[in-house]
Amino acid sequence: MSQPSSVEEKLDHLQHHFIDSDQQFEASKLGMWIFLVTEILFFGGLFAAYIVYRAWYPELYLLASEELDVFWGTVNTFVLIGSSLTVAMAIRSAQLNQIRGLIINLWITIGLALTFMVIKYFEYVEKFEKGILPGAHYSYEGIAHEKANIFFSIYYMMTGLHGIHVLIGIGLMIWLVFKAKKKVFHSGYYTPVEITGLYWHLVDVIWIFLFPLLYLID
């Protein structure tokens, strides 16, 4: 029998009901994956509403999507894809014990997420000024379709809910930065970074579906 190895492992993070770090890590990761499934079903309701109304009024979608700015939509798509890359790099930094890199990558991700929200804000304001408001408050006359308000209701619901998810992601990552500065994370424990990253990728993927479905119809 070999001697017990003398490699020390930091175990501050290990909760009492888990046997070891691996079990805790895998449990957290599985939990996040299951949560992401619920997120997909949550958005799934909106996608179903989108499909139903598009099937009923295909010409409405062609007309109404011309009001959306493809240029800024494309920019936002690249901004979010870029932030997915940086969050992946943040996880890599944590795995390699590079806490400085972790913090920098998190800050870049937060910056990109804020950029996304700012662009989204200007898109919204531009529409509000034209009178493109959800549902009964809709007063824009540039679209020759009586159901134009419903397209924009769906647009605001989908992008609005997505925006809330981006804001939650920003909050989580700010929390991660504080934790990282307190030296909580190291190569043996970076579970919160990993599962926040998973969440962030989902937010990104949802946008990748929203962008063509709303902006690129014609």
Partner: protein, 580 residues
């Protein structure tokens, strides 16, 4: 601890027998004291008890509302409340019973308490999340109470548009927002249970040694995580409809109210399986324990729970046969609805086969299980009739539906819950209840239940519509019979409350395993120690192997890794030889 014997190529695990300490002085109920310690506990057992208190409160409220309804229906015209009040009362009865009692009841109370015990785990995978989901439940409940006291709602528990999206209907926003919040509690519990079952099993608990209670909770959790988000988005859209008139469901601004019904039932049909499937799990445990017999058709019961969870997602359209669906959709939904009967039938027959030639011990939990079998079978068969297209056109929105639903939910799920509560009560509190009074109460509830709801089948088939405040004279005798039945049931539940409280205060101490069960939760002390087991349990037999000696069910990994420790480790293989 596991040593490899290379020469024989046999793997030996050094385990020893841990006999549970009887009536320990320190246990989870008294180890941490004070209100604050309770409110901030992350212990799954205490959280389960907190849920038990909450759902009992809501069961009481909604039960009183039901008695008010039945009292009003004593006479064909107004008895003591006006029609608007009546609409509010039946809406609240339904909404509270379903969202605050039925959906959370088994998973959050018995599931929280028993699931980690049956896995031999110290806690669920995410204890803090578990506590959070309790408080989310409380916040949702507060919103609902706020809605009740600021105008109430009278839409029925289904919140159908366009009525619910119009100005009428009361404080629907607070109510739907409360249920929206509640949904997250349900989702987080589901996530927690799925991860716990996957990742926290003790050594030796393979998938085919998982107690059927856990298969039931597993299937339930899958429905919870897949269906509840759809309810969340539906209620969010409904809230937006009222706040901003987004026009997706409201026909006045171009929306489609039938789309709302599709969305709503996509959750709410699977939701009835959220309510009943964990009940199936309890019944499996109880029937096997009190028949002293290996469960018949283990995999058939386990997989039929998953089958019900799956088919449950494909049948929502049978709530909308009269809402203007295409006849093709109606036929497909009708056919799929019949399919649900198959896995349900498989379960019933396997339970009966388990009892066949068993050594049946008619203790209270077993009697509730038998009541369940009887009432649930009636509820199930009448459900098949409602799923038949032509019959449903006649019976739609009548008391027949009300009776069917109560036979399934109250006769099925509540009876299963009571079976489970009586079964695990000694484990939860370390006290026995009065077997005599428990059996009397069970009989009273059984009689009261049938008196209440059997006449409603007859009324419904004769055309008495549900949710009506007035009715024609010919139905009066049925309604009065039904009301008397409801009072009898009410008395039954009061007696139950009395003997349960008596048990807590003056009950005889329970042994660790009063039913002689082989399942893992009975191999630790009653009440349970704070960390469930003082050792890591090792499982070599299935949870229903009643033909094997008890000593093989109380094994755990030896605490020490040194062979010369004072507690001499036992080798399973040698021990098995001794027993044989």
């Amino acid at each position: 601890m596991a040593t490899n014997d290379e020469s024989k190529n046999v793997r030996k695990l050094q385990v020893k027998r841990f006999k549970p300490e009887e009536n320990p002085e320190k246990h989870y109920l008294n180890q941490e004291k004070g209100l604050w310690a309770w409110m901030t506990t992350v212990d799954h057992k205490k959280i389960g008890l907190m849920y038990l208190g909450s759902i009992t409160f809501f069961f009481f409220i909604a039960g009183v509302l039901a008695l008010l309804l039945r009292t009003e229906l004593l006479t064909p015209a107004r008895s003591f409340m006006d029609a608007d009040m009546y609409n509010q009362v039946f809406t609240l009865h339904g909404a509270i019973m379903i969202f605050f009692f039925l959906v959370p009841s088994v998973p959050t109370v018995l599931g929280n308490f028993i699931l980690p015990l049956q896995l031999g785990a110290k806690d669920v995978a995410f204890p803090r999340l578990n506590l959070a989901s309790y408080y989310i439940y409380v916040v949702g409940a507060l919103f609902t109470l706020f809605a009740i006291f600021t105008g109430g709602i009278d839409t029925g528990w289904t919140f159908y548009t366009p009525y619910s999206s119009s100005a009428a209907g009361g404080n629907i926003m607070a109510m739907t927002f409360g249920i929206f919040i509640l949904g997250f509690s349900s989702i987080l519990t589901g996530v927690n249970f799925l991860v716990t079952i996957h990742k926290m099993r003790s050594p030796g608990i393979t998938w085919n040694k998982l107690p059927l209670n856990l298969w039931g909770l597993y299937a339930t959790s899958i429905i919870q995580i897949l269906a509840t988000p759809v309810l969340a988005i539906t209620l969010l859209l409904l809230t937006m409809e009222r706040m901003l008139s987004i026009g997706i469901f409201d026909p006045a601004i171009g929306g489609d109210p039938v789309l709302y019904q599709h969305f709503f039932w996509f959750y709410s049909h699977p939701a009835v399986y959220i309510m009943i499937v964990p009940g199936f799990g309890i019944i499996s445990e109880v029937i096997s324990t009190f028949s002293r017999k290996v469960i018949f058709g283990y995999w058939a019961i386990a997989l039929s729970s998953l089958a019900i969870a799956f088919i449950g997602f494909l049948v929502w359209g049978h709530h909308m046969f009269t809402a203007g669906q295409s006849s093709l959709a109606n036929m497909v939904f009708s056919f799929l609805t019949f399919l649900v009967g198959i896995p349900t039938g498989i379960k019933i027959f396997n339970w009966l086969a388990t009892m066949y030639k068993g050594s049946i011990d008619l203790k209270t939990p077993m009697i509730y299980a038998l009541v369940f079998l009887f009432l649930f079978t009636i509820g199930g068969f009448t459900g098949i009739m409602l799923g038949a297209l032509a019959v449903d056109i006649h019976l739609h929105d009548t008391y027949y539906v009300v009776a069917h639903f109560h036979y399934v939910m109250m006769g099925g799920m509540v009876m299963a819950f009571l079976a489970g509560l009586h079964y695990w009560w000694p484990k939860m509190f370390g006290k026995m209840y009065s077997e005599f009074w428990a059996k009397i109460t069970c009989a009273i509830i059984f009689i009261g239940f049938n008196m209440t709801f059997l006449p409603q089948f007859v009324m419904g088939s004769q055309g008495m519509p549900r949710r009506y405040f007035n009715y024609i004279d010919q139905f009066q005798s049925f309604h009065q019979f039904s009301t008397i039945g409801a009072y009898i049931m009410g008395v039954g539940f009061l007696i139950m409350a009395a003997y349960m409280i008596h048990s807590l205060v003056k009950g005889k101490p329970a042994s660790s395993n009063p039913w002689g069960s082989r399942a893992l939760e009975w191999q630790t002390s009653s009440p349970v120690p704070l960390h469930n087991f003082e050792h890591t349990p090792v499982i070599i037999n299935g949870p229903y192997d009643y033909h094997k000696p008890m000593s093989e069910f109380q094994l755990g990994i030896t605490a020490s890794q040194h062979a010369h420790h004072a507690d001499k480790p036992v080798d399973i293989s040698t021990q098995e030889k001794e027993q044989a």
